[in-house]
Symmetry: D3
Subunit: 135 residues, 6 copies
């Protein structure tokens, strides 16, 4: 409804050195020449900015799961929580990593179904089957 | 806190033919000899039972995403929504499809981080960057 | 996982007069001889107890909607939020007002479907059609 | 903040036969000459489109609950989840089925109160009363 | 996406006496000469308007917690729920009570971290330690 | 419903050095001789364990807000999300920092009211007042 953020966007030009260092690392890590608005609002708290960026970088790096799978999980959670900004930013991120529209639609289908059955279970309260908690 | 479901568990022995047909299909599809409690509470409404099972079967089948990736998205959504039953049932389902503990922990790490940044964005309201909505 | 509440249950015998008056009104209004645990934990703050009870009584009274419809909306919201206590208490309340199991299952079916399509919309972000906002 | 959907709107003119068949059924079922944007984004996955439409049609049909009651439950869940699109579309749907503003305001009042007491219970954790789980 | 509310804004000029009395009390209590849009939509149900205003006034008054602490809790909850309107209105309210940007950023940091660890706990399900429930 | 965690508890005795170092720091930082179960499940991923602990330690340290205020915000978010474990652990944490029952009840009252008005706003969609976004 409004396009005015709750705190102003901290632009590179006016950012303190601590913030510029994070912005630089974001651009280098992504091979990009711009920083998206999410980081510009976090920059009001350089400690929060740094911790969040370092955490996201660590969590989204290749590991037991590949980065695209991680982005798709991020999309599913963001849609579940109704975060508009995150839905756009992580869908763009996943597409940059090769996600097709067919894959996006399946992410949505699974997220939608999970949200449905989560409530059927939460409303009818079946006991957890012992088979699910056996060693 | 309680182990009593909101509606009783419909057991195979006492189930009408319509319900037994779904229970049979669940067991055949999974190569299993038992039906978990989620379906036994849904069985109070055979139409709901059938639709939910057919939908889950369709959504979770191999497609643009493989079944294990889908189970991991399901887990991330279920943890986000705080659905205890679904967390246990889909973690068991993912393990049966080969998910390692290392993969589970990364699913949690991504889901946790997404839940955190979703709220940073929802609270500070950065405008969606035009780069994310360009064709 | 635990049955110990976060604050102790305030029992009628040990309750101050202000709390007893609310407990009495709960029992008289419901034609019941006991007070459920929700009110016993709220009783640690008599002002919160009184306001919550008066508000619930006012909201759930017959109006443009009948009390059973209101209880079913309450169940759908409680399942959506994953509130175990509220799911049991309001399902019991709705049954006391005549809700059948067939009706309960349809409440769940609608709540489940709404939770699913809510996420499909939140993830794919269709613009709100002008037909929906026309006067 | 943005009016650009995450995936483009599939218009009838450019839709494959499979999608047109669903769009036609939506218009016939509703006695309407247009299809709202929700279905146009789902149309990127014709299988998802068909299943979601068939499910919604089945769930929202008259049964143990009448269609208006179902729409009002849908509104309460959509407001709880913060789904902007669904709030507008289902409020319009309910009004088309005769919902008055007085009824809408009571739906909101009940949904609001449920969201409040859900958190009071989730934060203070009263044990579920045995009276609520007795047969 | 749209700026049209679901119900029209009830302006003071056209409001019935019951509504004007609440609007007057809002302005007097706040030492303000205008009423924000939240109350103008609630005004379609004067009973809901009055109860909500009286409740908010009572809850947000100085007590065991000071009003600024209460506003910051309100912001954290609103960000968690993704309520755009409430995020803007309560951030403005907290700033009017003296909240600095540094405090706002810490509210966000705590809310973000809580949302993350809530899901780690909901997904991995550690048992509640007995030390937390001891008397 | 079940007391079995999704992954086993990693006990100090069997923990690798990397995990023991974090457990030691938790106990030293808290002046405590035990580690709660949340950290024992995270220990399956030492990198996640370390990052989460370092982040929580940083976020909850005294800053623009005092530690007790932060714990109370944590409780409000945890109740909003329905996280049982976090509700117990952070209520215990806040009490250890001096939170009284009167303060806890007010945290709940504010969280409950916020959850209510969040949905009234999300369902009725008042436009954000320009007064809230003015510089």
């Amino acid at each position: 409804m409004t396009n005015t953020p709750v705190v102003s966007l901290v632009e590179y030009e006016n950012a303190p050195a601590q913030v510029r260092a994070v912005f630089d690392d974001i651009m280098v890590t992504r091979g990009s020449d711009w920083v998206n608005n999410f980081w510009k609002v976090l920059a009001h708290d350089p400690v929060l900015l740094l911790r969040t960026w370092e955490s996201v970088k660590e969590v989204m790096a290749p590991g037991a799961l590949d980065p695209l799978t991680k982005e798709m999980i991020y999309i599913a959670v963001s849609a579940t929580n109704g975060c508009e900004y995150c839905t756009y930013s992580h869908t763009a991120g996943a597409r940059a990593k090769g996600m097709t529209d067919a894959q996006l639609m399946e992410v949505m289908a699974v997220a939608g179904m999970a949200n449905e059955t989560n409530r059927l279970a939460n409303g009818l309260r079946p006991p957890v089957d012992v088979q699910f908690t056996d060693g």
